[in-house]
Amino acid sequence: MTEILGVPVAVLSGQLMLGIINGSFYALLSLGLAVIFGLLKIINFAHGAMYMLGAMCTVLMFDAFGVNYWVALFLAPVVVGCFGIVLEYFLLRRIAGQDHIYSLLLTFGIALILQGVLINIYGVSGLRYSMPEVFRGGMNLGFMFLPYYRAWVIVAALLVCFGTWFMIEKTRLGSYLRAGTEDSQLMQGFGINVPLLISLTYGFGVMLAAFAGALAAPIYSVSPVMGSNILIVVFAVVVIGGMGSIAGAVITGLMMGVVEGFTKVFYPEGSAAVIFLVMVVVLLIRPSGLFGKEA
C-alpha cells in the first residue's frame, strides 16, 4: 500500500473527506459570523450560543412535539433567527455605531445568559437525539466508510454557503447591506429602511449558525455548552479568511477543516492549536487575512 509519512494513502483520503465535512460546519458558522461582522460590524460572541440554540431547538421540538428532522432543519433556524431579530431590536440596536468592543461585551453577556439558563434547565450531559431513519448507514467509498448523514452535511452546507455569497456580493440587496454598514445614517437619508435591514441581517447571520446547529444535532452531543468551545475556532477561521469576506470565510472554513483533520493524524495533540498557528502565520504574511481587503 502506498504511504505518505508512514500513513496509508487510503487513510489520508478518508481524513481529507472528514476534514471537508468538519470544515463544512466551520464554513457555515464562520459565514454567519462574517456576515454579521462584515455588514453590522458586530463581533458576535453569541454565535456559539446560537449554534447551540439551533441544535437544542431541534432536539426539544422533537421531544415536545415530535417535530421531525426535516421540519426542524427549517424551523429551528427560523425560530432562532427570529430570536436574533428580537435581540437585535431590543439590545444590539442600542449600541449601533459604538466601538466593536461593546458589541463584543453585549453578545458575550447574552451568550452567558443563554448558556447559563439552559444549563440550569437541561444540565450539561447532553440531550439525546437519534439519527433520522433515512440517514442510517452509509456507503463504502473504498478508502472509507462514509455515513450518509455526513455526505448530506457537505451538500447542505455548500448550498447554503453559495446562496449566501451570491446574495451578498451579487444582488442589489447585498449592496444595500454593504453600504448600510459604512454609514447607515446616510443610507437612511437615501430612503432605505436601514434599521429593518440590520435586524434582518443579524437574524440571517444567526440563522446560519442555528442551521449549523440543527445539522449537528444528530451527530454531536447536544448540550448547552456545545457552542462555547467552537466559538473561538470559528473566529480564527473568519480572521484567517479576512474579516468580512464572505467567500473567504467559506473557503477558509473548508480548508481549516482539512488542516485540522490531517493534524489529527500526524500530531493529534496539536489539532486544537493548529488553527491558531495557521492564523499567526497567515496574518504575518497577509495582515488582513487570506481574502481580506487591504485596509
Binding site: 463584543l104 452567558l112 448558556q115 440550569n120 473561538i232 492549536a273 491558531f276 495582515p287
Partner: protein
C-alpha cells in the same frame, strides 16, 4: 496686545485646571490608599489579595486598551507566564527567594510580551485582537504540554517564602501588605506612564494613527513599548497571584481569562485609571459572593446580565459614569 493677554489668561486657566485635576488625582490616590490599608480589618485578606492581583492585571490591560487603543485578546498568556515561571522557580529551587521569583516571572512575561508584540504590532484593529488571541492559544497549548506545569492538575504547593529573607509571607496580613505595595507600584507606574510625554503619544496614536505617523512618530515602536510594559505588568500580577494562592493553573492561561480581564476593564471604565481596579473588584466580589450563595449555579447568567446592562446603560463603565455624572453636576 489684547490677544497676548487673552493668550496668557487662557494658558493660565489651563494650567490652573491641570493643577486642580492633579490635586483631585492625588486626593483620589490617597483615598484609595487609605481604603486599601484599612481593608483587611473588614474583609478577608486572601480575598482582597485576589482582587488586587486582578486589579493589577486589569490596570495592565487598560494601558493598552484604554490608552493606546489596542485590544489584546491574549493577555492571559502573560498572566500565566508570570504565574508559572514564579511557581516553577519557587517550588523547584529552594534557593530562590520570593522577590527573585517574582522579578524573574515578570521578566519572563516582558520577554514573552516582546515576542507577541513583534508579531502582532503591525496588525490593525480586530486583526490585532485575533492575532494576540492566536498567540495566547499557542502559549496555552505549550503550558498544557509542558511537563513542569502539571498540565490540567496545575502546579501546587508553591511556598510563599520570606520577603527579603525576613518577612514571613505565610502570614496573610504580611502577604497582604506586600501585595498592596506591588499593586500600588504598578498602579502608580501606569498613572505616570499615562501622563508622561510617552502617554500623550499613545493617546495620539489611539485617536489618529496616520496623523501621528505624519508628525514623525514611529508608532510601531510606541505601540510595542506599551505592549511590553503592559505584558510585564500582567506578568507581575500573575507572579504575585501564584505566591498568594501557592498555585498556578491552566485557568490563568485560558482564553476565558483574557476575556474576563477585558470585561473587568470595560465594566469599570476604560481610559480611566481607577476603572479597571473597580471593575476587577466588582467582578471578583460578585463571582465570589454569587458562587457562595443559593444562586451558586446562576453565576454565569447573572454576570451575563450585568454585562448586558453595563453596555446598555453605563457604557463608560462604573468609574466613567461617575465621572460623567460629576462633570455634569459640577459644571
Amino acid at each position: 496686545m489684547a490677544t497676548t493677554t487673552t493668550q496668557t489668561d487662557i494658558q493660565q486657566s489651563i494650567v490652573k485646571q491641570q493643577k486642580a485635576e492633579q490635586r483631585k488625582k492625588q486626593i483620589l490616590n490617597l483615598v484609595l490608599l487609605a481604603l486599601l490599608l484599612l481593608a483587611p480589618a473588614v474583609f478577608y485578606p486572601v480575598f482582597l489579595m485576589k482582587i488586587l492581583c486582578f486589579a493589577l492585571f486589569a490596570v495592565a490591560l487598560n494601558l493598552l486598551l484604554g490608552y493606546t487603543g489596542l485590544l489584546s485578546f491574549g493577555h492571559a498568556a502573560f498572566l500565566a507566564a508570570g504565574s508559572y515561571t514564579t511557581g516553577y522557580l519557587l517550588s523547584s529551587f529552594p534557593g530562590v527567594t520570593t522577590e527573585m521569583g517574582i522579578v524573574v516571572g515578570t521578566a519572563a512575561s516582558l520577554v514573552l510580551g516582546l515576542g507577541f508584540g513583534l508579531v502582532a504590532i503591525r496588525r490593525q484593529g480586530i486583526y490585532f485582537a485575533m492575532i494576540t488571541l492566536a498567540l495566547a492559544q499557542l502559549v496555552y497549548f505549550f503550558f498544557v504540554q509542558a511537563p513542569f506545569t502539571g498540565g490540567e492538575d496545575g502546579m501546587h504547593g508553591v511556598p510563599r517564602g520570606y520577603l527579603f529573607g525576613m518577612v514571613d509571607l505565610s502570614d496573610n496580613t504580611a502577604m497582604y501588605y506586600f501585595v498592596l505595595a506591588v499593586f500600588l507600584a504598578g498602579y502608580l507606574l501606569v498613572q505616570r506612564i499615562v501622563g508622561s510625554p510617552f502617554g500623550q503619544v499613545l493617546k495620539a496614536i489611539k485617536q489618529n494613527e496616520p496623523r501621528a505617523v505624519s508628525l514623525g512618530y514611529n508608532v510601531d515602536r510606541y505601540k510595542l513599548m506599551a505592549f511590553v510594559l503592559s505584558a510585564g505588568l500582567a506578568g507581575l500580577a500573575g507572579s504575585v497571584k501564584t505566591v498568594v494562592f501557592q498555585l498556578a493553573s491552566l485557568n490563568d492561561a485560558h482564553w476565558h481569562m483574557s476575556g474576563e480581564v477585558i470585561l473587568m476593564t470595560l465594566l469599570g471604565g476604560t481610559g480611566t485609571l481607577l476603572g479597571p481596579v473597580v471593575g476587577a473588584g466588582f467582578v471578583v466580589t460578585l463571582e465570589y459572593q454569587l458562587s457562595q450563595g443559593p444562586l451558586g449555579d446562576w453565576v454565569d447568567p447573572i454576570l451575563g446580565a450585568i454585562f448586558v446592562l453595563t453596555v446598555l446603560a453605563f457604557r463608560s463603565g462604573i468609574v466613567g459614569e461617575i465621572q460623567n455624572f460629576m462633570r455634569k453636576n459640577m459644571g
